[in-house]
């Protein structure tokens, strides 16, 4: 393997060899290697094929900032090889090729490039009409990169919150110094970095001729940070977005942290920029920082003979570093015409030749076209123009240092504004919101000592804002120029790439502007520049420059495209992982499961629909229904809402909230309670039990109780009545024992209540005890049979169920589910609020006039009820019947106007419908037009398949209209 001796190779463990395969060939690597570094150590530079022309591509940044190293793993496509830590035995392949990575047949597309200009697909395949449908399969087959594994098994992902005073994003010199300053000032600090070690640029960059500063500072700052108990460090972690008030999603492994920082410092650094020249995408052409990372991080010698193409001093320092590791430097090509004397002398000591005011105009490939073999150097004669003749220098490595683009993404998400400074040829970031600070090279500060100072000043601003200090934080000014103003050299033969992801050349950008797409956002959408995986990290700056020049505007006016989260690709699993979906269970839940209940959701609750297998649904419901009608059944109604109203004003309070009259309600009696809203719409119903003079227990619907409780507390905030209101839904378990034998069961379990018809009549309520636990007993008739609702403190719910099943055994008691209950109550003509009512239903429409007190002066919604019921009515909820064999309407099916016209109006809809064995017919309730409501009239229902059935309006209830069943005395 190609490995340099220590101290190179900070990230690798030389004692831990591992093996892996790439494209079926076995390779050796070291623990700590990424896929890309391991391949480079085995001299495998070709890692991918480009998106459009299938050009050979190798590493560009070695930092996951480009799409050149996208590879395929067995269960994951589009993996960044220069970020993915290698596991022993990993099988890696290339992707997006036709044939093999080495011999990709689709590389021929490169020859057709001139016929596939920018916007080619939009413009070529839209006419004649229908042509796209013909081309689409072929184009889609060629589009895309990796292959998704459809047999992939989801893995565990979760989330956690983090709480810190200061979050510092980026652990380079600015981030480290900021974290230390903030922590020393008393703040709790979270330091986040995407790399596996602290230090950022200190881990690979060379800051001085001697090459000492980086390590000295790194060792000092890292040791202090690691020893500080107020600093939490997250490595291999990426802050993937900035949201209001410093809400920061941070992804580390399979976890997404959600951090809310009082103060945030972004010290995210800067992306080194490439030079635009012909064949600048050949494997072997890399950023200078990439070459340094190869050496410092992985101990890889990136080439035998290198050429450095630079527009700043960093290229010289990279040359020194490379030369120090035995790389022959063929030339340093400086696009500037001035040079730092100290650096020039340092290079001359190595015998390195320097070209000034010159550029690489073209890189030339090796015979197999898969690596750089030489460069042609031309003198720069004007902005973007070069001399006719140049000099060819052999090399297998070309390092580019055109300047830096601040890692602005998070800051622009926060509203930061990019201003281009012509003097420094770089973007500055301004207009940041309060409590968000910026430090280091992202702030345009590049001199190391100033970078460290800038971090401290940002921390000082945080401490001041936190009230932990009150010192002036002076802005740091750095005049070190790092950006060359026009590193773009168009070539008559093209292939000078602005955007490597999308194979976009300089002419593609310019042509987009000539087609009228002058706005940078339109250029992006038309050309797709910046839309690839690297999201414009390298293309944004040259694109802004090219568009500015082509449209005669400044770069500031042109700007860059919008940066949106996520900053790096984010798996859906990170967002979806460990989402909380609460569910409620009644105290008898486990008994239902043991009895084979088919559980269904009812809002957030889980309830038994019926007891038996799903495929026998109809049989189970009919059998349970017959059982309740003939013997005795029990149903868990614990989900029913329960609200306690206690206090001297309890009756007055209930009287104001519900439509009926409650002031004179006797203790020991229940009364039907209908609630309407201020618009007069029926929103809930229940039973108000007066347990004592100043104590009401009111039931509410399963899904409505929370809103009822909120409404009660809201109204009493205005009324200030002397009551205590408590939502006790969860405090009580409840069971409805119903059927002609229910009284016998009750008498067995509850000895301290007289269950005779005289002592405990219909609509009465009593208190007593069952199994030693206190109970509230309500005589109800919801399902149309003799029945008792038992409300018991929840911890005794299961005990109650067991006692009832045991006591009821001799009467053949059986449980029934909520679907059976719906059928039974339908037979009895009882409405369910929310099912048989909608957002417009007033009491008159659903025949609840009897439940409204006309004598009392006020109840919530009374004025609206008077108004809506005085208006001409347009619809009515009626009972209907269909013959047994008729197609069965479903809830929601439409009721149409009578007549034969094809375009008849919709007059209403079905709200409930079921086959009733008791009635031996299909029965239901529906809203019909007011002209259709008369008993005996018929109305059409459009059922599945567009079939119409004619239903007959019948009186409600369907079952036991004389109410003899629920009043039975034996």
């Amino acid at each position: 393997m190609n490995r340099l001796p220590e101290p190179m190779g900070l990230l690798i463990d030389r004692e831990s060899p591992i093996s892996f395969s790439f494209e079926g060939t076995a390779y050796q690597a070291l623990k700590g290697d990424t896929i890309a570094s391991a391949l480079l150590a085995n001299n495998q530079w070709l890692m991918s094929r480009s998106f459009k022309y299938h050009r050979p591509r190798g590493p560009l940044t070695m930092a996951g900032q480009d799409a050149n190293t996208l590879v395929q793993l067995p269960s994951e496509p589009n993996v960044l090889a220069d970020r993915y830590l290698l596991d022993n035995g990993l099988e890696v392949t290339g992707q997006n090729y036709n044939g093999s990575l080495e011999k990709d047949k689709d590389a021929r597309l490169g020859y057709a490039g001139r016929f596939m200009p920018v916007g080619f697909y939009y413009r070529a395949f839209y006419k004649p009409m229908g042509v796209w449908d013909k081309w689409e399969p072929t184009i889609r087959k060629k589009a895309g990169l990796g292959i998704a594994d459809l047999t992939f098994q989801p893995t565990y992902h979760d989330k956690a919150y983090l709480f810190h005073d200061v979050v510092v994003i980026g652990a380079g010199p600015a981030g480290l110094s900021a974290a230390l300053k903030a922590a020393n000032g008393g703040a709790s600090v979270l330091l986040v970095d995407e790399n596996p070690i602290l230090g950022g640029a200190l881990t690979y960059h060379r800051f001085d001729v001697e090459g000492k500063q980086a390590d000295e500072w790194r060792l000092k700052l890292v040791a202090e940070v690691e020893a500080h108990d107020k600093i939490q460090v997250l490595l291999n972690a990426t802050c993937n977005g900035w949201f209001s008030d410093n809400y920061l999603p941070i992804i580390q492994g399979n976890r997404m942290y959600k951090a809310r920082a009082k103060q945030c410092i972004v010290a995210s650094g800067a992306f080194e920029q490439h030079v635009v020249f012909r064949h600048n995408d050949l494997p072997g052409v890399v950023m200078s920082s990439a070459a340094l990372r190869m050496m410092k991080w992985y101990g890889i010698k990136p080439g035998v003979q290198a050429v450095i193409l630079t527009g700043n001093n960093d290229g010289y320092l990279a040359a020194l570093e490379l030369a120090g590791q035995g790389v022959i430097i063929g030339a340093v090509v400086d696009m500037r015409n001035e040079v730092c004397t100290q650096l020039k002398f340092a290079l001359e000591e190595f015998g390195i030749k320097i070209y000034q005011s010159a550029t690489v105009y073209e890189a030339l490939p090796s015979a197999n076209k898969k690596h750089i073999e030489s460069v042609k150097i031309h003198a720069i004669t004007a902005k973007g123009e070069v001399s006719e003749f140049g000099e060819e220098i052999p090399c297998d490595l070309l390092c580019m240092s055109a300047g830096y683009m601040p890692a602005y993404q998070l800051l622009c998400q926060a509203g930061g504004k990019l201003d281009y400074d012509d003097q420094s040829a770089r973007f500055d970031i301004t207009n940041l919101p309060a409590n968000l600070h910026i430090a280091g090279s992202v702030n345009g500060v590049n001199d190391l000592e100033k970078v460290i100072k800038d971090g401290e000043m940002a921390a000082q601003r945080c401490l001041n804002a936190l009230g932990l200090a009150n010192e002036v934080a002076e802005p740091i000014v750095c005049s070190l120029k790092t950006n060359f103003d026009w590193p773009i050299f168009k070539h008559p033969k093209g292939k000078e790439f602005v955007d490597f992801d999308e194979d976009l050349q300089a002419k593609d950008i310019v042509n987009a502007t000539r087609l009228g797409y002058r706005d940078i956002q339109l250029v992006k959408r038309f050309s797709t520049v910046g839309m690839g995986p690297s999201q414009g990290r390298h293309s944004a700056l040259p694109t802004a420059r090219l568009v500015a020049e082509a449209t005669n505007r400044t770069v500031t006016e042109t700007g860059v495209t919008t940066a949106r989260p996520p900053f790096v690709p984010e798996k859906l699993a990170h967002v979806a992982g460990r989402i909380f979906s609460p569910y409620r269970r009644t105290p008898m839940h486990h008994r239902h499961i043991e009895l084979g209940a088919k559980m269904i959701p009812a809002g957030i609750w889980r309830r038994p629909a019926f007891y038996g297998p799903q495929e026998q649904r109809d049989e189970c419901i009919q059998a349970e229904s017959r059982h309740v009608r003939s013997k005795v059944g029990l149903i868990d109604v614990s989900t029913l809402g329960g609200i306690e109203v206690r206090g001297p004003d309890a009756a007055e309070f209930i009287n104001r909230l519900y439509t009926f009259a409650f002031l004179q309600q006797p203790v020991g009696k229940t009364r039907y309670a209908v609630m309407v809203n201020e618009q007069g719409v029926v929103i809930d119903d229940g039973v108000a039990c007066r347990l004592e003079e100043d104590h009401f227990y009111v039931t509410a619907t399963t899904t409505g109780v929370d809103a009822v409780y909120r409404s009660m507390t809201k109204w009493n905030a205005q009324w200030r009545l002397s009551v205590d209101i408590a939502n006790v839904t969860s405090a009580f378990a409840a069971v409805n024992v119903a059927g002609p034998l229910s009284r016998k069961v009750m008498e067995k379990v509850c000895s301290d209540v007289d269950f005779s018809q005289e002592a405990f009549p219909y609509l009465a309520c009593r208190t007593g005890s069952i199994g030693g636990a206190p109970v509230r007993l309500l005589r109800v008739g919801f399902v149309g049979e003799l029945g008792y609702e038992i409300h018991i403190p929840s911890l005794y719910g299961e005990m109650l169920w067991d006692l009832l099943m045991e006591a009821g055994a001799e009467f053949d008691i059986k449980p029934f589910g909520v679907e059976t209950q719906r059928l039974l109550r339908l037979e009895k003509g009882h409405i369910i609020i929310g099912q048989d009512t909608d957002g417009m239903s007033h009491p008159g429409e659903v025949s609840l006039e009897w439940a409204i007190s006309r004598k009392k002066p006020f109840y919530v919604g009374s004025r609206s009820v008077d108004i809506v019921m005085a208006r001409p009515q347009t619809r009515k909820l009626v009972g209907f019947k269909l013959p047994k064999g008729s197609p069965k309407p479903k809830e929601g099916h439409l009721v149409l106007a009578n007549g034969n016209k094809a375009d008849r109006d919709i007059r209403g809809n079905i709200t409930s419908c079921e086959f009733s064995a008791t009635m031996d017919a299909i029965i239901g309730m529906a809203y019909v037009g007011i002209e259709q409501k008369e008993i005996g009239s018929r109305f059409p229902i459009r059922v599945d398949g567009g079939i119409e059935v004619l239903a007959e309006v019948v009186p409600l209830p369907f079952y036991d209209p004389e109410n003899t069943r629920q009043e039975m005395s034996v």
Partner: protein, 202 residues
């Protein structure tokens, strides 16, 4: 309602386990069937003081009684008294009796409306683990420095409403969590999941 007439043994929690593996720390203990009582109303604080209970000075704080119960003040006029071990019922019964005929005080149903869970860790082992566990399910900073012993948060845990109290005994630190009893199985599972990575044998 006269709760004390009922035999403690017949109370059944929806959560079927009483505790997670007790040989590991942190552990989760189901205290739902333990005694607790709540009062609310304009005279509730005076009533508590009249029976010698140490009423917390301000809402969202808790005190410990001389016999070890936890007294939670949840608002200006509402307090809950929690037993932290089975059979600890003297003070709770005292309160229940006192509230029977008190004016301006309403007894609450927290014995039955809420599950009581205790996330407990050995002080010598847990470090910040309990807070880290809670940070996986709760958006409130429950670390010791921000949420010292005796603090109460009425918040959301794993998307269900909950009351969280930080408590510390001689050897253990704990979060007592009170949450709707009907979602208690769900919350139990969510907490076990959050705890898994931190559990260690001792």
């Amino acid at each position: 309602m006269i709760e004390q007439m009922v035999n403690f043994e017949v109370r059944r929690s929806l959560i079927q386990a009483m505790e997670t593996d007790s040989d590991r720390s942190p552990s989760l203990i189901n205290q739902t069937v333990f005694e607790r009582a709540g009062v609310r109303g304009p005279n509730s604080l005076a009533l508590l003081e009249s029976i010698g209970l140490p009423v917390p000075a301000k809402p969202n704080t808790a005190t410990v009684t001389e016999t070890g119960e936890l007294l939670l003040r949840l608002s200006n006029t509402e307090c809950w008294l929690l037993s932290l071990r089975a059979g600890m019922n003297e003070k709770v019964n005292l309160l229940r009796e006192a509230v029977q005929n008190a004016e301006g005080v309403y007894s609450l149903y927290c014995q039955y409306s809420h599950a009581q869970l205790s996330l407990t860790g050995e002080l010598s082992l847990t470090g910040n683990n309990l807070s880290a566990i809670m940070a996986k399910v709760c958006g409130v900073d429950l670390r010791e420095n921000a949420f010292p012993t005796g603090s109460i948060a009425q918040t959301s845990i794993a998307r269900v409403n909950a009351i969280v109290v930080r408590h510390q005994s001689e050897e253990q630190e704990q979060f007592v969590i009170l949450s709707d009893i009907t979602t208690s199985e769900y919350l139990w599972e969510a907490l076990l999941d959050a705890m898994a990575e931190f559990q260690e044998s001792y």
